[in-house]
């Protein structure tokens, strides 16, 4: 009976906040060390993650279609989408910075959406997978999420500095949508419980 290795199977629960291990499986008890609620697994992990993932997926569409900023030069507006800004950087000869922005604002968010989707499917349909490899994927997703805020911070710097009457940068509607995508995917990754991947494995 190798499945007995799980702490839950042996009657232990670990506190999410302080990491204290308690010998109880009562889902209504409090952590003896820090008084927070004990849960064997994150409560409603799959439902919450799915909800957050769907909302970020639908916000990802306006984030890419609408302009993220408009450069006003002498009265003529020049709107940029996320992809447009990257193409301009690469055309201007700034390839490394262009690639950096490409990774932070396109590769990371879209692969996060796909990755969290796969993790959810895997946990829901109890696929027999290499759980260790999938846990590493989860860790990468949880780690890189915050770096997508790069575009949002950059807009706040540009909007402030480039503001001199005839040349102006104005933030566009995609900025709000993109910020929401980043925050919602970070919350989705936080709500997903990687232990669900291990619970389904029969041959550990």
């Amino acid at each position: 009976m190798k499945a007995k290795k799980n702490a839950l199977a042996q009657g232990f629960m670990r506190c999410h906040d302080c990491g204290y291990l308690t010998k109880t499986i009562d889902q209504h008890s409090l952590c003896p060390r820090c008084d927070s609620h004990l849960h064997a697994r994150r409560p409603r992990s799959l439902q919450r993650t799915t909800a957050l993932l769907f909302s970020s997926f639908f916000l990802y569409i306006p984030a890419n279609i609408f302009p993220i900023m408009t450069v006003n030069q002498f009265g003529a507006g020049d709107p940029h989408t996320i992809i447009g800004g990257i193409i301009e950087l690469i055309d201007g000869g700034m390839v490394p910075i262009g690639l950096l922005v490409l990774v932070a604002s396109i590769v990371v968010p879209s692969s996060k959406l796909v990755g969290i989707g796969l993790l959810l499917l895997c946990a829901h349909f109890r696929w027999q997978i290499n759980a260790r490899r999938w846990t590493v994927m989860y860790r990468v997703i949880a780690f890189v999420g915050r770096w997508s805020m790069l575009d949002i911070f950059m807009i706040s710097i540009l909007v402030n500095l480039v503001n001199s009457g005839s040349v102006q940068i104005i933030a566009g509607p995609a900025a709000t949508a993109f910020a929401a995508v980043v925050i919602l995917t970070m919350l989705a990754a936080e709500n997903f419980d990687p232990r669900l991947l291990w619970d389904n494995q029969q041959n550990l």
Binding site: F12, D17, A104, T135, S156, L161
Partner: protein
């Protein structure tokens, strides 16, 4: 079978005999590879010192001008807060709030909380809110995005260099110092040790 002799991996729920690695060693979960513990030398003292340093450098980093640009004769300087205000004035209220929280309020709160907690632990003073502070700090950790902001300063500089000459102010150097300090702070802060010490302090001072 007493529960303190055991530990569970937070990512795969494997029940383990509690590892007690020495300073400089790391304990990984044998099944999923999660970093279970990594004790730091003088964690409380160093956290205390770094939080004081972070608290001091927070103010020049936020109040002194970071960058200046001269466009068509108009000179503009920027600090962290002026970017938030510029977004706010353009009606991007939600984005302005997000930038304000992630780059100003949460870093300040995180530094203040670690200063309070490590200060109390350093002087062995119990406080009834220590546990609450630890919870707040634990949840704030992920939303402090100073290093992301640094990267976006670099990208913004590259974009602006094509437009006009840039000049850098003392605020930027203070900001770089702040990032180095907060990075060192989060790598020196040993949460498991802090929880243990808080637990001890609470037990010692019970009547």
């Amino acid at each position: 079978m007493h529960s303190t002799h055991y530990d569970a991996c937070p990512e795969c729920d494997l029940l383990l005999r509690a590892a007690q690695p020495n300073i400089g060693e790391k304990a990984h979960c044998p099944r999923c590879g999660f970093l279970l513990s990594r004790p730091r030398k003088q964690s409380i003292e160093r956290t205390f010192a770094l939080s004081i340093a972070g608290f001091i450098s927070f103010f020049p980093a936020n109040l002194l001008p970071m960058m200046g640009i001269t466009l068509l004769g108009n000179a503009n300087t920027g600090i962290l807060m002026s970017g938030v205000i510029a977004l706010f004035n353009e009606g991007m209220i939600a984005v302005a709030i997000v930038v304000f929280l992630a780059s100003i309020l949460f870093p300040l709160l995180h530094i203040c909380l670690s200063l309070l907690i490590s200060g109390h632990l350093y002087f062995n003073r119990p406080h009834r809110h220590l546990i609450k502070w630890m919870h707040c700090m634990h949840h704030l950790d992920e939303w402090v995005m100073l290093e992301v902001y640094m990267l976006s300063i670099i990208v913004a500089c590259v974009k602006l260099m094509a437009l006009a000459p840039l000049e850098f102010g003392w605020g930027l150097y203070a900001f770089i110092a702040l990032i180095i300090i907060t990075t060192l702070l989060s790598s020196n802060l040993d949460e498991a040790l802090f929880w243990q010490r808080i637990d001890q302090l609470g037990k010692e001072n019970q009547p």
